[in-house]
Symmetry: C2
Subunit: 71 residues, 2 copies
């Protein structure tokens, strides 16, 4: 959950999206993006899918839960 958030933040920045832009594109609240990135909440499969589509990143990259341990 925390890893998901870290992946999201990294990928979002790589793609040049602000939280606001991403939130707007997928039609959710910016406060939700913030909470997801910070690992405060465990969002749904459909939001995860929408994020992956909006950022044009493979879903696998968001779910790469082990990546963080490396860095």
């Amino acid at each position: 959950m925390e890893a998901f958030g870290n992946n999201l933040r990294r990928l979002r920045k790589e793609k040049g999206f602000t939280q606001e832009k991403l939130a707007f594109e997928i039609g959710i609240e910016i406060s939700q993006i913030s909470r997801i990135e910070r690992g405060i909440l465990n969002t749904s499969v459909s939001t995860a899918n929408a994020i992956s589509k909006a950022l044009k990143v493979p879903i696998r990259e968001l779910f790469d839960f082990d990546r963080d341990r490396l860095s």
Copy 2:
């Protein structure tokens, strides 16, 4: 959401899991598995991740939301 459920059902069967076995392995209720497969609810990212690990299928396959349109 519906597609996620269909993918789950197909993959679960391919791997020879009953709903009960899968539920037990990931520590959730069998009624939840049933509801997820039927597209009644939109489960969380962490449950999706646990399912992918338990079934040993890539997360991408669960999220292959467009697959259904083919069949």
